[in-house]
Symmetry: C2
């Protein structure tokens, strides 16, 4: 059901500085940057194999990563797995008793439909599942 | 240079319990379990696309994940990228001024040669690079 690692989300206190670090590490520039206003974050994506590294900068104290940055100073925020159909996967997981944070897919970065599982459902790891959103451009190109 | 996400290492307080959680989540059993005595850990590997999820249990208070478990209770410990040649990659990174924890490859889990970069070199993320070790079986099959 979980087909691949779609991306790893890394929360950073300074997005421009982190983009410079990862550009040197990977030897490539990010494929795109994007503000996800609903989450209060700006993202920068790097392609690596079939996956991506998603750097996440906070746009303010109410963003989805603000508390994480205060507590941890930065680091890996979540892991996202690619699935064929987020709603089907959510229904399957819910039927198994998996704790979910989202019960329906919502728009995420990179033209994806996304949903989050509770960290308790994945040994303490905030876990996302996602699929391309056919109604939006991917933003990857 | 970094060709793919080879694996994500997740430190867990109870390896058997975490294996049960991820077996249900992925719908598959781990491909293998292995003690890495030099790191004081036992690992269980799950294949997902071209990558793996590596669950890490601690074998004692001196293990490489013991402090992390005390501080965090568990979670993502490191990310490993696949490279063609770890020593060449280390030399390249060192020449660029990247902070390294290992300056030469050493044996890791799953028949890999591995080396770690300092978290400061990757925006706060403990980062490994690895390659198959031609002198050892992979243990994946």
């Amino acid at each position: 059901m979980l087909e691949k690692i779609d991306h790893i989300g890394i929360a950073v206190p300074d997005l421009d500085a982190a983009v410079a670090v990862y550009s040197r590490l990977f030897g490539i520039e990010p494929t795109h940057r994007e503000v996800v206003a609903s989450d209060g974050v700006e993202t920068a994506m790097f392609e690596v194999g079939e996956s991506r590294i998603e750097l996440l900068g906070s746009l303010g104290p109410d963003s989805k990563i603000a508390n994480f940055l205060v507590k941890r100073g930065g680091g890996i925020h979540h892991v996202a797995y690619g699935v064929a159909d987020v709603q089907l996967a959510l229904d399957h997981l819910a039927a198994e008793g998996t704790q979910l944070l989202d019960t329906a897919p919502r728009p995420g970065a990179g033209g994806r439909l996304v949903a989050f599982l509770h960290p308790r459902a994945a040994a303490g790891v905030l876990t996302e599942i996602c699929q391309p959103d056919p109604s939006r451009p991917s933003g990857d190109h």
